[in-house]
Amino acid sequence: MNDATVQQASGSTIALRAHGLTKRYRRGRPAALDSIDLDITVGGITALVGPNGAGKSTLIRCFLGFERPTAGFVTVDGIDPARDRPKALSRIGYVGQEIGLYRQLSADEHLELAATLRPHFDGPGAVERLAARDIPRGVPTAELSGGQQAQIALSLALGTRAPALLLDEPVARLDPLARRDFLTTLRDAVRADGTTVILASHIISDLEGIADSLIVLAPAAVMFHGSIEMARAGHAVVPSSDETAPDELIATFTGIGGRRVSLVSRPGTGDASLDDVVFGYLAAANATRASA
């Protein structure tokens, strides 16, 4: 992790924490996550952005107890899933990259199944959410569109009424309309009850109106962690030919339109787009790796 460029979120109670988190799938191979430190405070939607292989899914799977850290630890509501996975999972709702529904079961049967697996599952709330989106509840999910399946998966996660929702690129395969529907449902559901959400995504434009904070994960390391507001107002994009102070330059990269630009840190005066911030920090990560 580049300490100079990582800005930690500050605030109250920690919902999700990663401390010195390292995950190496095979000895001798590069780490998927390398000494990550993250504190995600209670409430709000945190966008987790990064290229393929950056470790987004690995991070989420560590919180779920699906992966055991090689070093360091994670906690969910103060509980280490490596030590007490059932208790940690009781505080998590999850939607994965694969929507993970039974093709032969209907939405109603999925809700019924969830009620047998999760104590206090909010079946009526889930039914209400599906009804609001006109999702057919009686037909096998194999007959539904990808967007409708994603809505069912989201309803299962929201029905847990867990304080934390971990969404691992659930919209990656959806068309723009279905993505918007999914994210709207998510936003409406979690705004009301202060759920903490991590939403991993490649599609930065989707996150603009929905996320409260942003984590830019470059391969194995956190490059930026702060509020969306801080990300945009704290950075500016200038032509690469402009003079910039060494301590404010984050990285130079090829922007949209093919021109070379620099992302610079200018707290309070910047007006960078979220795309620029993400590209800039990923370029910084590449430069760090290249120099190493």
């Binding site: 799977r61 208790k87 999972l89 994965g96 993970g100 199944l113 969830a114 697996l117 999760r118 998966a153």
Partner: protein, 323 residues
């Protein structure tokens, strides 16, 4: 909640469940039909095994066609069903076991339900018990129908068990099916992929089937004892499985099967009557009264095998990634 779990577990594996129901129904009902056909021949035991009756005058005119008809059904139809019984419990166990965990992992549903359930042990129990109940019910039906057919093939045993179709009827069917189920379950949980699971499980189930015969041979060797053959008839039968036979001479020594017994008769004694009265034929092996011991052994062996695989599945599911 239990009703929900049961219904959903069946819904999730409905293809396998219905395939198994169909397979067991076809084989089981066929077994009952063949048994009825055997009984329907109306061949009395005196016609089928006249040698077990002393002083019986064989009525060839009455018996020949009846015993021929009985033998035809016994060998062809009943033989086919009993041979199928070797594969059926293994196939049913495999079909139900392969997808239970393996397909959940391959299909991506494991991540969803393991995140929902928290306790994977509880999830697995919820998925396992309904399928296990169905499997046991199907195997019990197969065991009963095959038992009836096996008994119908040896009416001269008058209800006593015989080693003729050992492992192909009764409790052996149930424990073999459960062992195959446990095996497929474990391989599925371990590999998380259907095709490798099907191939590896099928191979292992085949070994299980062969292993059953090897176990029987070993058990017979280990439990073989001397059984006095009560009659000189070649066709002597008591439902046994024999690994040797010899003559016991009046002084207690043994003589091989190719011994010229007449030459051993004391001088001045009619060799034929001496042999008939003084020489005992001894078979070495197991026979009908030993059958419960074999059943207990196969239940213990295959049961332990199945339980070990089930325990291994819980351990694998607890530790592995859901993808």
């Amino acid at each position: 909640m239990i009703a929900s779990q049961f219904r959903l577990a069946v819904r999730i594996q409905r293809f396998e469940v219905w395939s198994c129901v169909l397979l067991i129904a076809v084989v089981g009902i066929t077994a009952l039909i063949v048994r009825a056909r055997l009984d329907g021949v109306g061949a009395p035991v005196e016609c089928l095994t006249p040698w077990i009756f002393e002083d019986l005058v064989y009525d060839a005119a009455r018996c020949d066609h009846l015993s021929a008809a009985f033998d035809r059904i016994k060998q062809d139809e009943a033989g086919l069903v009993m041979r199928a019984m070797l594969a059926v419990p293994l196939v049913v166990g495999l079909l139900l076991g392969v997808g239970l965990v393996g397909r959940e992992i391959e299909g991506g549903t494991a991540a969803t339900v393991w995140a929902l359930a928290g306790s994977r042990r509880r999830w697995l129990l919820g998925r396992l018990i309904p399928i296990l109940v169905i499997l046991v019910a199907l195997l019990v039906f197969a065991a009963i129908t095959s038992e009836l057919l096996a008994a119908g093939r040896v009416p001269w045993q008058f209800g006593r068990p015989a080693f003729d179709d050992a492992g192909l009827h009764g409790p052996g069917v149930i424990v073999r099916g459960l062992a195959a189920f446990g095996l497929a379950l474990t391989v599925g949980a371990w590999s998380g992929r259907m095709l490798p699971t099907i191939l590896v499980s099928a191979l292992l189930a085949l070994s299980l089937g062969i292993g059953g015969y090897l176990l029987l041979d070993k058990w017979v060797e280990g439990n073989a004892h001397e059984i006095a053959v009560p009659s000189w008839y070649n066709g002597w039968y008591d439902g046994g499985k024999f690994i040797g036979e010899f003559y016991r001479l009046p002084d207690g020594t043994e003589a091989g099967w190719d011994t010229d017994l007449g030459a051993l008769a004391p001088i001045g004694v009619d060799p034929e009557s001496w042999v008939a009265s003084e020489i005992n034929v001894i078979a070495v092996g197991v026979h009908s009264p030993d059958y419960p011991g074999w059943v207990a052994t196969e239940i213990a062996a295959f049961g332990a095998f199945g339980v070990a695989w089930l325990v291994a599945t819980f351990a694998i599911v607890e530790r592995r990634r859901p993808f």
